[in-house]
């Protein structure tokens, strides 16, 4: 028998029992729809995290100072103040570091009390240069950012992040208002847009002041030129590696170290943060896929059940087909084909349901859903495989029937 005829036979059998076939496919439909949605949600969440991190500077290198040794005790990374504004200036040189798009040295002081009349709010104050805005990938909702002139004059100006502005000024526009830090009044010149949180800090709760202002009036310390962190932005995510090499080479040269083992600084990337978040998401996605797989197995058992009923019911038909020349192999193929078509039907309807869900779900919950074509194709293949897998036993039973007994049955 030709394959075209086998397929046609299978399709006829399914069409002759529309309701039954539809109900049988339902189990697979639900499983496949769940897989498509789960994977879509998982990938959507992963993409969201990646997008958010890259908006916060996905091309970002974070340079921290090395450790200090005091009385024989070695402090952790960042305890030494080996990085200076001169280091930051050197990294900004296009000729030495062509893959570096921007450099923002940062001096930060947490637990600073900001006061606006009767209201006060404790947050961290970040001293940095005008390039911070582009290096960290932030935007202003109103006013302006710190300028080179502010930096030069160590001006008493501040830019507030959105939550900080909200806490201190409520619904009022803080631009032009004054806020007191360490008993010194600062003019609020701008407000940042909301950026959410990274893994450890609320990016919407901070106050930005010029670096020079921070080092002279807020942080203090022994060296007026040392900084805590230098953010280095690569020209593109693809150039991150090159930017890393350049940054490392420049700093090693400037600090007079020859090997990375002796370096008094360390460079990290946001990639490690993305990796952590991804692995959490992957675990969750795998768990949900496991649940979907269970429902697919239940769906497969449904297929097997209905195929067994079908073989029983059509014993006479099988007998006739054998009498007319159907070999056991052809009979087996016919029933396998029917089972795989049930799987395929469930799979296609499941994908349609999953895609429909993926398109409507983001309107109701705050999660993006990413549809991936490879996963959809895998889902359909799995649905067919389930049909075949669970059809093997019923098909073998049909193929084994003796034509005489089968023809005699009522």
């Amino acid at each position: 028998m030709k394959w075209g005829d086998v397929l046609r036979n299978g399709w006829d059998a399914i069409r002759n029992h529309k309701l039954r076939s539809a109900l049988t496919s339902l189990g697979i439909l639900i499983g496949i729809a769940a897989v498509v949605l789960t994977v879509g949600l998982g990938q959507g969440a992963q993409k969201q995290v990646a997008d958010r991190l890259s908006a916060l500077g996905g091309n970002l290198l974070i340079v921290s100072p090395g450790s200090s040794t005091s009385g024989g005790l070695r402090g952790g990374f960042g305890s030494a103040s080996t990085l200076t504004t001169a280091d930051a200036d050197a990294l900004s040189a296009r000729s030495a570091a062509p893959d570096v798009a921007g450099v923002a040295p940062v001096l930060q002081s947490s637990n600073q009390s900001l006061v606006n009349g009767p209201t006060n709010w404790t947050t961290s104050v970040v001293g940095t240069t005008p390039s911070w805005l582009s290096v960290r990938g932030r935007d202003l909702s109103s006013g302006r950012f710190i300028t080179a002139a502010d930096e030069k004059e160590a001006a008493a100006v501040a830019v507030l992040a959105s939550d900080t502005a909200q806490e201190l000024f409520g619904p009022l526009d803080p631009v032009g208002q004054s806020v007191t830090i360490n008993s010194v009044p600062y003019e609020v010149v701008g407000v940042l847009t909301s950026a959410g949180s990274d893994s450890t800090t609320n990016l919407d709760d901070q106050a930005i002041v010029p670096l020079s202002t921070a080092s002279q009036r807020i942080v203090g310390g022994t060296s007026r030129t040392s900084v805590q962190t230098i953010y280095v932005k690569a020209s593109s995510p693809g150039r991150l590696g090159a930017a890393y090499q350049e940054t490392n080479a420049i700093l090693q040269y400037r600090h007079g170290v020859t090997s990375s083992a002796g370096a008094d600084f360390s460079i990290t990337t946001q990639q490690s943060v993305i990796d952590t978040t991804s692995s959490v998401n992957t675990t969750l996605t795998n768990l949900l896929i496991g649940v979907a797989a269970l429902s697919l197995i239940v769906g497969g058992i449904g297929v097997m059940n209905i195929m067994l009923v079908s073989v029983k019911e059509r014993t006479r038909e099988i007998g006739l087909r054998k009498a007319l020349g159907g070999t056991p192999a052809v009979i087996r193929r016919q029933f396998l084909c029917e089972a795989s078509m049930l799987g395929l039907t469930g799979g296609l309807l499941g994908v349609a349901t999953g895609v429909g869900g993926a398109l409507t779900l983001p309107h109701f919950i705050d999660s993006p859903v990413t549809l991936s074509v490879p996963w959809i194709l895998i889902a359909i293949a799995v649905a067919i495989a389930i049909g075949i897998g669970f059809g093997v036993y019923p098909a073998a039973r049909a193929a084994r029937l003796s034509p005489i007994d089968a023809l005699r049955s009522e």
Partner: protein, 230 residues
């Protein structure tokens, strides 16, 4: 080849194990049927008639003895080979018609042709011709449920001859028909006979058997009046 018999049974025995009891359904049947013969096999129920029909139809193989169908020894073939022989050599007509209810008359007749892996166009043509020969060319696209019993049996006859088999084997073909339809179907067998087909008809009705040119009586697993053609 003209002298080679269509059916040649030599001392065929068939025994079944029913639990611990051995039942001999056929006890040494020898039978020769030549091409173009119209033979009725008659016998009461329990005579071994059905067993003989199963063996003649290659639905079963003898325990002992040989069966040559159109010159080919089929007594030792396996399931797959038997299925192929049935498809090529034998056209079945059953008491219950055994048409597939979901298929049209045309596709029912095409069924054995599809198992022979004949392409669709040829299949259509041969099935149409076959249905025209039984006078149903205006019922090609009717399903069995839309046809009378007589018409259904005619579709079954069309299906039996569509593959151009060496043997048309009819098992109580009129058992489910009223007298008008019976006459109708028997006329059809007469016609097949006149057209030179070999027809073997199994029945327990004397008036049906009377239409055949030769009657073979079977009782207790053996042929009663051994009318083996010379």
């Amino acid at each position: 080849m003209a002298t080679e018999p269509v059916i040649e049974l030599r001392d065929v025995r068939k025994a079944y194990e029913m639990g611990t009891v051995r039942v001999e359904a056929l006890r040494g049947v020898s039978l020769r049927i030549d091409p173009g013969e119209y033979v009725a096999i008659m016998g009461p129920s329990g005579s071994g008639k059905s067993t003989l029909m199963h063996i003649l139809g290659c639905l079963d193989v003898p325990t002992e003895g040989t069966y040559r169908l159109a010159g080919e020894d089929v007594s030792t073939l396996d399931d797959v080979e038997l299925a192929e022989i049935r498809n090529r050599r034998i056209g079945f007509v059953f008491q219950q018609f055994n048409l597939l209810p979901s298929l049209t008359a045309l596709r029912n007749v095409e069924l054995p042709l599809s198992y022979a892996a004949i392409d669709r166009a040829t299949r259509h043509r041969r099935a149409r011709e076959s249905l025209a020969r039984v006078g149903l060319d205006d019922r090609l696209h009717h399903r069995p449920g839309e046809l009378s019993g007589g018409q259904q049996q005619r579709v079954a006859v069309a299906r039996a001859v569509a593959t151009d088999p060496a043997l048309v084997l009819a098992d109580e073909p009129t058992g489910n028909l009223d007298s008008a339809a019976t006459a109708d179907v028997l006329a059809l067998f007469d016609e097949l006979h006149r057209a030179g087909r070999t027809v073997v008809l199994i029945t327990h009705e004397a008036e049906v058997a009377a239409r055949a040119a030769r009657t073979v009586r079977i009782r207790d697993g053996a042929i009663e009046d051994a009318l083996v053609a010379s």
